[in-house]
């Protein structure tokens, strides 16, 4: 080992499917490093003593340690280092915004590109999934039961961390498959569902019981969970109800929320020939919004055969989506109309016919710190379209709040928690992920699930003593 570091200023390139080919299939876009690329990239890590990258990771993965294992060709050892901190390595290696987290802090980024930490994480997780058969051992039951609401990234992380400590954990999922946004939201070409299933199976092997088709707030309430013997409840119920712009024409046929469009394709597999769930195969699709969800919707629409335009009211610089997603979308031929804001969706015989927009310019920063877009008078432009997808965020789902006395929410409807513990205003109830923050990232939700698991463990082991 102790070989000289690789001082190349560039990351090893991530091999991808050819854009012209992948724009017509749902197979994964990024193909992953092979062993040679992984070793070459791992050699770029300087193994800094103060580990700035770790401070940038919401779940605190010991990054230099796992990269050192790669250099030693101990790939399973690297996997074990990652799983000490993360329950979903194969997922995070694919969907984390590393450029604004671990990789943003990497010293190699000062004079070039940072170490490809996310790509290495993915390599390690995929190597493990391909080579290691043994399921994790189920720890001995410690006598405590915990309920987790929602099987998305925060819920799975909280459940996994508690199960490893011997808690009997039941996860309640409203849909018919576990995984939350990893299953209904993020497309197959970015996160293959077999990978999510594998992570869920690992949790099941740890003893986590997953009950699908249970809507907390309807089928059961939080108070009933306590009455049933659960000593703590974690709420990771996700983002909630899709927002619309409240402009004329949003009820026309051919208008979708991104949630609906993605759910039809990802959860229900509507893109597959012969599937029972329908989805529109449009000719010209306009996606409104600039986040990762907008990119996912646009790239899915493209794969269904449409010419796709993304309409966003600020500039490329302000796009909230990951840089890599924007780049992939561009490569696949998605058009972007920046500084453009919809005014009306025009219809013909009940179907979408066009979207009328207004050009914008950027003004001084608003409360969010981003430049405020203001309309330019007399600058209207009409874009022809037969399908419009609204990807402009979500509002919290009121189902749990309205049926749980003592659970307080903020003005925006997010559940109020103590940041250090995830504790809500109701005793024994913790929360994290989008239900608290509004739409954010997979890894932040995982961080919140992890924080809550630690707090729940501290509370319940105190009770035991």
């Amino acid at each position: 080992m102790a070989s000289k570091p690789n001082m190349s200023n560039k990351k090893n390139l991530m091999p991808t499917q050819d854009p012209a080919v992948r724009a017509h299939n749902f197979q994964e876009v990024a193909l992953g490093y092979d062993e040679a690329a992984a070793l070459d990239e791992a050699a770029r890590c300087l193994n800094c003593k103060n580990m700035p990258c770790v401070a940038g990771c919401p779940v605190g993965i010991h990054i230099p340690a796992f990269i050192a294992r790669i250099r030693e060709l101990d790939f399973e050892g690297a996997y074990q280092v990652i799983t000490e901190a993360s329950s979903l390595p194969a997922v995070c290696g694919r969907v984390c915004p590393q450029e604004s987290q671990c990789e943003a802090r990497c010293v190699r980024g000062i004079k070039g590109e940072p170490v490809g930490i996310g790509r290495l994480e993915r390599f390690v997780a995929d190597w493990h999934n391909a080579h290691i058969e043994s399921a994790p051992e189920k720890p001995a039951f410690n006598g405590h039961r915990v309920a987790v609401i929602g099987s998305g990234p925060s819920g799975l992380t909280c459940a996994g961390d508690l199960a490893k400590k011997g808690y009997a954990v039941t996860v309640f999922e409203a849909l018919h498959i576990a995984g939350g946004v990893l299953v209904y939201g993020i497309p197959e070409f970015r996160l293959p569902k077999a990978i999510v299933q594998k992570e869920v199976d690992t949790l099941k092997a740890l003893g986590v019981d997953i009950q699908t088709n249970v809507v907390i707030g309807k089928t059961l309430t939080v108070d009933e969970l306590f009455a049933d013997g659960y000593e703590a409840v974690f709420i990771g119920s996700g983002a909630g109800l899709p927002n619309f712009m409240n402009i004329p024409g949003e009820s026309l046929m051919g208008v979708y929320s991104a949630n609906e469009f993605l759910t039809r394709n990802n959860l229900m597999k509507a893109y597959r020939e012969g599937c029972d769930t329908p989805v529109m195969h449009a000719k010209k699709t306009v996606v409104v919004g600039g986040g990762n969800v907008a990119m996912d919707a646009a790239r899915t629409a493209k794969r269904l055969g449409a010419e796709v335009t993304i309409v966003y009211r600020r500039t490329e610089k302000e796009l909230p989506a990951r840089a890599e997603e924007v780049e992939h979308a561009r490569e696949e031929g998605i058009h972007f109309q920046m500084l453009t804001n919809p005014l009306e969706i025009e219809g013909k015989d009940g179907w979408v016919h066009a979207i009328r927009c207004q050009r914008m310019r950027l003004s001084e920063p608003d409360a969010s710190g981003r430049a405020r877009p203001v309309p330019i008078e007399g600058s209207e432009v009409t874009i022809e379209a037969d399908c419009v997808i609204m990807a402009i965020g979500t509002s919290p789902n009121p189902l749990i709040k309205s049926t749980t006395e003592g659970l307080e929410v903020n003005r925006r409807g997010g559940i109020i928690v103590e940041e250090a513990t995830g504790a809500t205003t109701k005793a024994g109830v913790y929360a994290g992920g989008d239900a608290v923050t509004g739409a954010a990232t997979v890894i932040l939700a995982m961080g919140a699930g992890k924080t809550a698991a630690q707090a729940i463990d501290a509370k319940l082991s105190e009770k035991k003593a």
Partner: protein, 280 residues
């Protein structure tokens, strides 16, 4: 997996099933709905709850065979299983304090109207029921409605049973004759509910309708079930399925209901062909 405890054909196109789903049965109330999937590749469809037995842990659904999924469901038999069954979803019908109500049911919508009529009857409310069908062969639940109604009128389009005509004729006659209903509750095809509302509006009789739009998750996540009610966007799954009939934009709801008509027709034909092949 959820067991079909009982199955009965109510008429050639309408089937009743009792599904074993104790958690749903425990919470179900009149007016709420469930979402089911027949098999692992199936679509999610919403069906309003037609009854429940908390002691037995079963929920009753009554469905009309209108497409691929209901065709597949109808091929399942007693003691077989369906893949998914989740609920109860949506808000229960508000029945508190009602003393005199006219229930108007059309076709398979009568299946949903029945538990509401039964709940009203049980709370001592005077229940007048008007149910309508295309013809005698399609009539369902006559005895059940008779048992919980103070007054029952049956209408058929062709006059082959009961009175000939549409449900709004006796409804209008009753209101004009001076019946003062606290509320009219109408459940049936969109076009029927639209005309019930047109009938009651001039008299200002509060009219509640039960909407059953296209849905996927049923918990508010997808927004596919959105309706315009009083000029605002509402989600039928979390804000409904009951709405003030005077406020609902029925024309828009009818349009949106046809969005996948071609796909659905094609899928239905494929499914029927498949079952026909299997039978040979």
């Amino acid at each position: 997996m959820y067991r079909i405890v009982d199955k009965k054909a109510l008429n050639p196109t309408v089937t009743m099933m009792e599904i074993e789903a104790p958690l749903v049965a425990h919470k179900a109330q009149a007016g709420q709905f469930i979402i089911l999937r027949v098999d692992a590749d199936g679509e999610r469809i919403p069906l309003t709850i037609a009854g429940y037995d908390r002691a037995q842990g079963t929920v009753r659904i009554i469905f009309q065979i209108v497409g691929a999924t209901t065709e597949k469901l109808n091929h399942k038999n007693k003691d077989e299983y369906i893949a998914d069954f989740v609920g109860p979803l949506g808000r229960p019908t508000k029945l508190d304090g009602l003393k005199k109500v006219c229930i108007v049911g059309g076709g398979v919508g009568c299946a949903i109207a029945l538990p509401i009529a039964q709940a009203l009857h049980a709370q001592g409310c005077e229940v007048h029921t008007i149910i309508g069908f295309r013809n005698r062969d399609l009539l369902i639940l006559e005895d059940e409605f008779a048992a919980c109604s103070d007054h029952l009128t049956i209408m058929t389009d062709d006059g082959s049973y009961g009175e000939k005509g549409v449900v709004t004729v006796p409804l209008k006659a009753a209101i004009e004759a001076g019946e003062s209903y606290d509320e009219v509750i109408a459940i049936g095809p969109l076009i029927m509910m639209k005309f019930v509302v047109a009938t009651t509006r001039p008299f200002g009789v509060k009219t509640t309708v039960s909407m059953n739009p296209i849905m996927i998750d049923g918990t508010g996540m997808c927004g596919g079930c959105r309706l315009t009610v009083g000029g605002q966007t509402k989600f039928a799954c979390v804000d409904g399925p009951d709405f003030d009939g005077f406020e609902v934009d029925f024309d828009e709801a009818m349009r949106r209901g046809t969005m996948y008509r071609d796909f659905e027709r094609h899928a239905y034909e494929e499914t029927c062909n498949l079952f026909a092949k299997e039978a040979n």
